[in-house]
């Protein structure tokens, strides 16, 4: 027999009660100031409870629930002995806690490791996989929207655009997307690719070039970005980071999210350097496919050589130019073919340089 309080579900007044554990039910005899009674609780209608408290609380039946609170030590143990395996004493919470401090530390650290692995490899890999299965038409449509938005307010050099398109037409290329090139008037030595095959070339970079092989290398590099779907993958990656963060931290915004967000930025920069290296390789392949001098790729790099100092490598989106040149030269050693002149390309190149 245990002493406790009985609550009838109608008022919050605790009635002193004696609680007896019978084989198939719990018997509760309670007495208030002017009334008293006896309740029989059938085991199957007792609600599941948690036991890691000094006070053991049991609830019973439908709304409003009756309940008892027993402050006596030993009640919990008596319940567990008497009703072994009953539904209401099967706690769902403390299973992990039973492992103790060591279990919690090991569990916490392994969770951290899993999170880090997922964060840096698992989720980005999944996101990229998903991105590479985007329908071509969808990517093309997205690129078209971005291209239209970007071109707004830009000065297009129509003559050079036509010439560049002719140059491209004479090249032997491999791409899932129709490639559309546009030359815009801009003093910055730059060119970039949008998803779906839209390539924008600043006229300044063409003015800087001395050989048309450089142009072929540049186009190969940008087509590489398009073909390898780098932009779409990058978008999918950063979206996936946000999704993972919200899963991990639920409604906790704030510090942890900020830390991880910055980590993802650094990781994305590294990713984008990897993407540049891949595209350099694609540029080299295009030169080889068209029998053009692979040196074009090295010359292109030399045009792009900027004054950005070596120590910025870590926070740069592009690998250091010297490193790129070294990598290209390393790959050139593995390929050998005799380059030949291509009159159609050279004619288009002349028009571009006019």
């Amino acid at each position: 027999m245990f002493e406790g309080k009985f609550y009838n579900g109608r008022t919050s007044k605790g009635m002193p009660a004696f609680i007896k554990l019978e084989p198939n039910y719990i018997s509760i005899s309670w007495r208030a100031d002017d009334e008293s009674g006896n309740e029989l609780w059938h085991l199957d209608q007792i609600h599941t409870t948690e036991f890691n408290d000094n006070t053991t609380v049991l609830e019973y039946g439908g709304f409003p629930r009756q309940s008892i609170a027993v402050f006596e030590q030993g009640f919990k143990e008596a319940l567990e002995v008497k009703y072994r395996g009953a539904r209401f004493i099967r706690s769902k919470y403390d299973s992990f806690q039973k492992t103790g401090v060591r279990g919690l530390v090991v569990g916490g650290l392994s969770l951290l490791v899993v999170a880090v692995v997922l964060f840096f490899w698992g989720v980005p890999a999944l996101a990229e996989k998903a991105a590479s299965h985007f329908p071509v038409s969808y990517e093309r449509a997205m690129g078209e929207k971005l291209h239209n938005q970007f071109m707004h307010g830009q000065k297009v050099d129509s003559a050079k655009t036509v010439a560049l398109q002719q140059y491209l037409g004479a090249l032997n290329i491999e791409s899932d997307f129709p490639i559309q090139v546009t030359v815009v008037k801009n003093d910055m030595v730059n060119a970039f690719a949008l998803p779906g095959g839209f390539i924008v070339v600043h006229d300044a970079i063409i003015d800087e070039m001395e050989n048309h092989e450089e142009l072929a290398g540049l186009l190969g590099h940008e087509i590489g970005h398009v073909q390898l779907r780098h932009s779409t993958k990058a978008i999918a990656r950063s979206l996936s980071y946000y999704m993972l963060l919200s899963v991990l931290f639920g409604d906790v915004s704030g510090i942890a999210a900020v830390i991880l967000d910055n980590a993802s930025t650094f990781h994305n920069l590294e990713y984008s350097r990897k993407a540049e290296t891949e595209s350099d390789k694609a540029g080299l392949e295009l030169l080889s496919m068209n029998g053009l001098n692979p040196k074009g790729m090295v010359w292109l790099m030399e045009r792009l050589q900027t004054e950005s100092p070596e120590f910025l490598k870590f926070i740069s989106t592009h690998p250091n130019t010297d490193d790129r040149i070294k990598e290209i030269e390393r790959q050139m050693k593995n390929t050998s073919y005799s380059s030949e002149s291509n009159p159609v390309l050279e004619a288009a190149w002349k028009k571009l340089k006019e």
Partner: protein
């Protein structure tokens, strides 16, 4: 059977508040939660939340008896899915606008943006209302349920009127927006036959904000902990409880120093455990707030009577989370 009741005293319980939760215990629950959420790609969230709430409620005591949260993961999952559906449609409209606009014709974008904003602002009062109804109905203490009697229409009225006034006063009315919304929400809360009300005045809140703003600038940010403390105390100290015609009120004695220690401590825990220490942040915060909080007056925790009907609808419980409304 010989029964003697002579030793059992029928003392009146003191209405003391306590929080008995431990970071390590909460952590042992959350570690399983996070693992399951990762495995289920987040779908486990409602169950995880139910487990969290069960623990937090169970460890919060009034007059020595714990609160109980009765909500289940299943109930909240249904709400969660509905919430995701509604938000997905709204974001879909917004994305449609973004992808279909052209620099020459921004019309479609603005139409979609307007639909998105209107949809969102319709959702906020609905989410608040739904969350209060669900959360209170699932909260009990000694078997007595809390309840929410507010009407959705009246919530909309308070919300939009105050939002309008806040906009035309360039935000100054925001202080009254806050207090009026609390009056609407807390004023409709029941705890058995006890009724809550909120007495905070927007003018007082505005003064707290002005004072906090300028002193924070003057003290290079240090005063912000005292400002935050003032806001917490302003919230708690203005909650009245009426029970059988007698009034009592909550009183918080949280000090700026305590708040500074709490906030900086939480920050350090989060940073140095890479977020894994979040359970300790929760228990520390609950502990500090609740142990500084007392009920002043003649509130009698033994005299609450059951008044609420059974209610089961969790549609907006998670919506409030998704919209990041941290109110209660």
């Amino acid at each position: 059977m010989q029964e003697t009741f002579t030793e059992v005293k029928t003392n009146i319980s003191e209405p003391t508040l306590a929080f008995k939760g431990k970071g390590s215990e909460l952590f042992s629950i959350q570690i399983v939660n996070i693992a399951l959420m990762l495995v289920t790609l987040g779908l486990y969230y409602p169950w995880a939340k139910a487990k969290n709430l069960h623990y937090i409620y169970r460890k919060t005591e009034l007059a020595g008896s714990p609160f109980t949260f009765h909500g289940t993961g299943k109930e909240m999952f249904i709400g969660f899915i509905k919430g995701i559906g509604i938000l997905a449609v709204l974001y879909g409209v917004l994305l449609y606008g973004i992808f279909n606009m052209t620099p020459e014709d921004m019309g479609i974008y603005f139409i979609c943006l307007a639909i998105f904003m209107v949809g969102l602002s319709l959702l906020v009062p609905m989410a608040l209302h739904g969350m209060m109804r669900y959360r209170t109905s699932r909260t009990s203490w000694r078997g007595i349920h809390m309840g929410y009697r507010g009407k959705l229409g009246s919530m909309y009225k308070v919300f939009y009127l105050n939002m309008f006034l806040t906009m035309i006063t360039f935000g100054i009315y925001g202080a009254w927006f806050t207090t009026n919304l609390r009056k609407e929400i807390i004023g409709n809360m029941r705890f058995g036959n006890a009724r809550f009300s909120y007495t905070g005045d927007g003018g007082d809140l505005l003064i707290l904000h002005i004072k906090g703003y300028f002193l924070t600038i003057v003290t290079l940010g240090i005063y912000s902990f005292w400002w935050a403390k003032d806001l917490i105390n302003f919230y708690i100290n203005n909650i009245l409880i009426e029970q059988d015609g007698k009034y009592s009120r909550l009183d918080s004695s949280l000090t700026g120093w305590q708040n500074l220690k709490l906030t900086l401590g939480n920050l350090l825990i989060m940073v140095f455990t890479l977020g894994l220490g979040y359970s300790w942040v929760v228990t520390r915060t609950m502990h500090t707030i609740i142990h500084n909080c007392v009920i002043l007056g003649e509130f009698n925790p033994d005299m609450l009577a059951q008044t609420e009907e059974e209610y089961k609808n969790a549609t907006f419980e998670d919506m409030a989370d998704m919209l990041d409304i941290g109110l209660v």
